[in-house]
């Protein structure tokens, strides 16, 4: 289904927003204003953007340690996300979760996750809940290439398949499990090949092409929502930064990085928009300016937010 100009520009805005957000986080992280460690989504924006553009209110996403992009694409508050990453009281999780645990359950965002592969059964359960409660919802699980080696991948895809759950497993194959390249960590090229083992369709798409991702996800989400069961989509992509900020990236060469930067999803989509006469340079610039302003506001919001009160240390361990 062809997208309108407005939808196309929204895709761009969303990707730009993620890019701007992540670059800003990188900047403040390097300045020492952000504690802990952060895993940035720069280079992979097309996946979250293309998938989430297909979602409805009742749908769920389960994310990964590299989750900022997923949250933004799902519509989480940029102010609250930024404040959370800064460890402030007004963060999504009152400053108690941090970068790897940003969540907004109300939005169907089941959270980033510090455990690689942990989102797979969570999304499976969310898909089960949607089916059980007949909400017509679907659950998306974003997961990396290395997660596909975990038992959770196997168990979750199998269970989702036998229970015919409305789950779309979106593999973000950025070619590395931390330092271990895909060719070293598994003897297959396409993770989508594994779908067949669980009796579900598998698709391979260019993860740096937001339109391609959008279209694949559109098909899979439709199928799942219609009760057709789970689908595995493999999005081939690449992270421009290291596994985490500060990663010296000794495991990959500049040539490889440059090759992938040449395939950066943002310029590619801008070119396409211009080729398709969907957007002028001025319109793109206008979006970029707006986005910069929004992210700058988010930083201001975060920096103005107080640190959590010490009472928060032991609150929220249990629900009342």
């Amino acid at each position: 289904m062809a997208l309108s100009k407005e939808q196309m520009l929204d895709l761009y805005r969303q990707m730009r927003m993620i890019r701007e957000f992540e670059e800003t986080v990188a900047k403040f992280f390097s300045q020492g204003q952000i504690p802990g460690f952060v895993h940035l989504y720069i280079g992979e924006e097309a996946v979250a953007t293309g998938v989430c553009a297909n979602l409805e209110k009742q749908d769920y996403i389960a994310s990964t340690h590299r989750g900022h992009g997923h949250g933004i694409a799902r519509g989480a508050s940029l102010n609250k996300m930024m404040a959370e990453i800064f460890g402030r009281a007004d963060g999504e999780c009152k400053g108690k979760g941090g970068s790897m645990h940003i969540a907004d359950v109300e939005l169907g965002f089941l959270g980033a996750n510090g455990i690689v592969g942990a989102g797979l059964p969570l999304a499976t359960g969310a898909g089960f809940a949607a089916k059980y409660m007949k909400t017509n919802g679907v659950a998306i699980c974003f997961f990396g290439d290395a997660s596909s080696n975990r038992g959770t991948f196997h168990e979750s895809l199998n269970m989702a398949s036998i229970q015919k759950l409305p789950v779309v497993f979106v593999n973000e194959n950025n070619m590395y499990g931390i330092s271990m390249s895909q060719e070293r960590h598994q003897n297959i090229t396409d993770i989508a090949d594994r779908a067949g083992s669980y009796g579900m369709p598998g698709m391979v798409v260019d993860g740096n092409d937001v339109m391609a991702v959008y279209e694949a996800a559109e098909e899979a989400v439709k199928r799942a929502r219609a009760g057709g069961g789970p689908v595995l989509i493999e999005c081939k992509t690449y992270r421009h930064h290291g596994h985490f900020e500060g990663d010296p990236c000794v495991y990959r060469c500049d040539e490889e990085v440059n090759t992938w930067k040449a395939k950066d999803p943002l310029p590619r989509f801008v070119n396409r928009l211009q080729e398709m006469k969907m957007a002028t340079e001025a319109e793109i610039n206008q979006i970029d300016i707006e986005v910069k302003k929004i992210i700058a506001d988010a930083v201001e919001f975060a920096q103005n937010s107080p640190v959590p009160s010490l009472d928060e240390l032991t609150s929220d361990v249990y629900c009342d």
Binding site: A103, L122, F128, A130, V317, C319
Partner: protein, 323 residues
């Protein structure tokens, strides 16, 4: 009151809660037509259908993980891990997901699930099917840990656990499934975190839970013949733990014996002993005694297994060491 088995009582609790709340569902290995490995879920498939009583593949990770996902999404799953020994297979889902989500997400997520698992030795099930692993569950903030000893408590506590908005680990003792006890008629629940004084006494406090409660009560009767009146307390819930009832009892008796079936080293009895030593030291008239299993895997041969499990004689010996 009616005489029912521990297993029947749990089954009733499940049935009642499933009738009360449509969001409650059961998921586990062989819980459907098979009725569960120990028969606890017998008849529930017929009553509630395959949508609510789900046989799961041998996938503890997916059972537990999907239950967490479903719980966050608004359901009240009651997953069953057949033997507590298998919890290691899905420990991440318990330890890092279920337990922490409410806190990590700043109080916004709830994980109202009840993980039922069968533990305990005494049936010749050997090292991987007989353990009592409550101690490390109690070490994880964010989950509650319940260990019922009687049919009535099992029913009332399970109903409370299912209604609780927190992840609750409900540890059943496999050797108690066939044990009968008086179970109140009709609807009732027992609050989590409330100990029960199963026998009153003035000379020594014996804290025992799960199967060990019954051994402690038997020991108390024997001790009574010798003029030692033991107060036997069943905490029923280890997290949250009812300190008040225990401390009151110790204030009265001045002596404490803690009995559990799990190995002594790193056992929850150590936590209780430390708690008492820190907060109730002045009430003690003797050092705290623990009666627990030796630091060894559970053996298969019947005589070895019998030697492994704490028994009445060991409890009596511990109590008598005070006098």
């Amino acid at each position: 009151m009616a005489e029912k088995t521990y297993s029947q009582a749990i089954n009733e609790a499940l049935e009642e809660e499933m009738r009360r709340d449509e969001k409650v569902y059961i998921l586990g290995e062989d819980v459907g037509a098979f009725g569960g490995c120990f028969g606890v879920t017998t008849g529930l498939l017929e009553k509630f259908g395959a949508e609510r009583v789900l046989d799961a593949p041998i996938s503890e990770t997916a059972i537990m993980g999907s239950a967490v996902g479903a719980a966050v999404a608004g359901l009240r799953p009651v997953p069953e891990i057949m033997f507590v020994d298998f919890v290691g297979v899905c420990l991440d889902e318990l330890l890092n997901q279920a337990a922490k989500m409410h806190y990590m997400f700043g109080g916004k997520a709830k994980v109202p699930l009840t993980l039922r698992m069968a533990g305990g030795a005494g049936v010749g099930a050997a090292a991987q099917h007989s353990q009592s692993l409550e101690a490390f569950m109690c070490h994880i903030p964010g989950i509650k840990v319940v260990m019922p000893a009687t049919a009535a408590d099992a029913k009332g506590l399970l109903k409370s656990a299912i209604r609780d908005d927190n992840p609750v680990v409900f540890l059943e003792h496999k050797a108690l499934y066939g044990a009968s006890g008086e179970v109140p008629e009709g609807e009732y629940t027992i609050p989590l975190g409330k100990a029960d004084i199963k026998r009153e006494g003035k000379d020594v406090t014996i804290l025992a839970y799960s199967m060990m409660l019954h051994k402690a009560l038997a020991a108390a009767e024997t001790l009574a013949l010798e003029g030692i009146e033991a107060e036997v307390i069943d905490p029923r819930t280890l997290v949250p733990f009812d300190k008040e009832t225990l401390y009151k009892s110790i204030e009265k008796t001045g002596r404490l014996v803690i009995v559990h079936e799990a190995v002594k080293q790193g056992g929850f009895g150590g936590e209780i002993a430390a708690m008492v030593a820190e907060e109730c030291f002045d009430s003690l008239d003797a050092s705290i005694k623990r009666v627990a299993a030796p630091f060894t895997p559970i053996p298969f041969a019947s005589n070895l297994e019998a030697a492994y499990i704490p028994d009445e004689a060991k409890i009596i010996e511990a109590v008598k060491s005070f006098f």
